[in-house]
Symmetry: C2
Subunit: 386 residues, 2 copies
């Protein structure tokens, strides 16, 4: 096991009816920005529950935060936070709304030139932010229990991330009944997103970390079991709850503590979203199988362990078992309705040069757990997935 | 899954050499009580590392906190904390030292009659405490990442617990090399203690909670694998680290969130310690097999799951599998050198009436996950373990 620090002070309030507790969790001595996305919270009844739970609170609404939240939109909210002297931001919606709110909360107190710089300049750290709370309505990103945020800038076609303890939500309410009204596509995206979050922290090389490995496998097996149940019957409370808790545990720092991490799939996937606006989870489903193939040697031990413990693949040579493991993973993504080839998204080989040029331009030599997935190998990954 | 809240803000700093970071974690603008036990920290070098990491800090030492820390001892520390106006307490040692420090921290700010009342009177809650940090040197209790404390009062032969967010450590440093110098008996106790902590939150009845179940099984399997390795080779760093992290994860609230919990084994075990001063873990090893036997019907589904997933028991009728599961658990405890019968500790049947009378006196009708382990059944449990 590697040395690590683990700190996660998010107060998780989980279960049906928990939105009622909002009044105890949100401060009532300050102006509150109620931030949301495209309006699903009006349809699923969450907006009404929030309003009912916060009678007399000074709420200022900011709607319209889009999937892959846009810098351009969020900066409008930053202006409102500053002008109105808002003291708390409540994010109600999916991971994009919460990621957007993390950016707003940090940008509102940023003293530098342009808040975009804490995404582009890795030497800058966010240390202050307006306090945040969240009601998460879409299990997927794990944003409800981490300090991560990913923001897209339309003008430059960039999608970049930052991480800071300062933007950890004070609390997150997870009510599984919010899953009941989700469209099939969003459930499928959420299952794959959470699955790949686990893979990025697990499918690397062994460091003798049985707790972390088994926790990761626990989440993967649960997603494989519960994901299809949620898709088949959206109002199955227990499956929704298990899916929701799995997505949170997939990216709250716990399974990644003390082990190497990859994140190459995300780094490449973000470019697919930045250039083609493909859903985040779908980009991961495209890229991951290519990385498993190209890095099958350096990931061999964990690929075999993953195949055996998650897919039950025990027979055959190492090569045969790895082939079967990759095939089984692809089949799972496809089974929930997510294509894994670029052609399914009408993307051809031209894209590969565009992405590789950007990595070269950013001075990236290699990515992944050993920093050895080079730009030519990234091209190889994408070529495999044409 | 049941509704739950999960809040655990302890900053975990894990790994070899991490005691060096103490200066960044402990405040330097207040008097610090450095609390420890019987002096093992002088032998294993931890005391010297602590002193080296805190040059110029105002440290006031309080040593001699005993296993199953005594109210009588701790109240002496409370007086010092008050007189010296101590602003931070650093616990260095095992779970008993840290449990003791939690009591000291809460008692020093208690405004009621006698701090003992927040152990005896369940309607009283600890809401304020002197901030605490810990360096845990014995993987066992999980006290480093929870708000639990158990204190023994000699004058009344009582061993009672309290729990409060206010006594959650601000940070806990876990350096696996502290395991290298532990005596065999303490390692064995730690393995069994952590194992039974998991069991108390797992071996109840199913509520469709696959993440919690699999995490629990992950910890149990890891303890079964790593415990004997640590016993066989105390300086195997990886095994020590895995054992240490398993013990922390066994009782930090995570696996118990959203599921029923038992704790009957602990409730009965505490009486064995209170009356006979038997090591805490040993009392658990005595009581648990009796409870598995007496509650084999109401625990049937989880007993079968436990047997299959942890011990690999798949063949036979349900009754045969449960018999094998209990036998395998007993064999594991015995294999690490911990006897599971009262006779091995020279305790006869007289004890049973003493314990049962106390439960009756406290007005206890039943304990366990359904509150239906009655006093006559407690007698049955103990009779089985004579």
């Amino acid at each position: 096991m590697q040395n690590f620090e683990f700190y996660n002070p998010v107060n998780i309030v989980f279960g049906q009816g928990q939105i009622r507790k909002l009044g105890k969790l949100v401060p009532n001595d300050t102006k509150i920005m109620l931030a949301y996305g495209g309006g699903s919270i009006f349809k699923n009844g969450v907006y009404d529950q929030v309003k009912a739970a916060l009678p007399g609170y000074h709420l200022i609404e900011f709607g319209g935060i889009e999937p892959n939240p846009h810098y351009e939109t969020l900066m409008k909210a930053v202006e409102i936070v500053k002008t109105e002297k808002i003291g708390f931001i409540l994010a109600v919606g999916g991971g994009s709304v919460l990621d957007g709110v993390k950016f707003i909360a940090a940008a509102a107190l940023w003293v530098g030139e342009d808040p975009w710089e804490f995404l582009t300049n890795r030497s800058l750290t966010v240390t202050r932010a307006i306090p945040i709370g969240s009601i998460i309505t879409l299990p997927a990103t794990g944003s409800e229990m981490n300090g991560n945020s990913v923001v897209t800038r339309l003008s430059t076609q960039e999608k970049l991330a930052f991480n800071a303890d300062a933007v950890l939500p004070v609390f997150s309410i997870l009510d599984p009944t919010t899953v009941f009204s989700l469209p099939e596509k969003q459930v499928a995206n959420g299952v794959v997103d959470a699955f790949v979050h686990v893979i990025e922290q697990y499918l690397t090389y062994p460091v003798n970390s049985p707790i972390q490995d088994r926790f990761a496998e626990s989440i993967l097996v649960t997603l494989v079991e519960e994901g299809p149940k949620v898709l088949a019957n959206r109002t199955d409370y227990d499956s929704a709850a298990n899916f929701m808790w799995a997505a949170t545990m997939a990216l709250n720092g716990l399974i990644g503590a003390g082990v190497p991490q990859d994140w190459a799939t995300h780094t490449i996937g973000h470019e697919l979203t930045a250039f083609y606006n493909i859903d985040h989870a779908r980009t991961l489903a495209i890229v991951l199988p290519g990385i498993m193939q190209v890095k099958r040697e350096s990931k061999q031990e964990k690929l075999l362990q993953f195949g055996e413990r998650v897919w039950g693949i025990k027979a055959g040579t190492s090569d045969e078992r790895i082939d079967a493991t990759i095939a089984r993973t692809v089949a799972f993504f496809e089974s929930v309705g997510i294509p894994t080839k670029l052609s399914a998204y009408n993307i051809g080989s031209d894209f590969i040069k565009v992405v590789c040029d950007r990595f070269i331009q950013r001075g990236i030599k290699g990515i992944g757990e050993r920093g050895d997935l080079t730009v030519p190998q990234i091209a190889e990954v994408l070529t495999l997935q044409l």
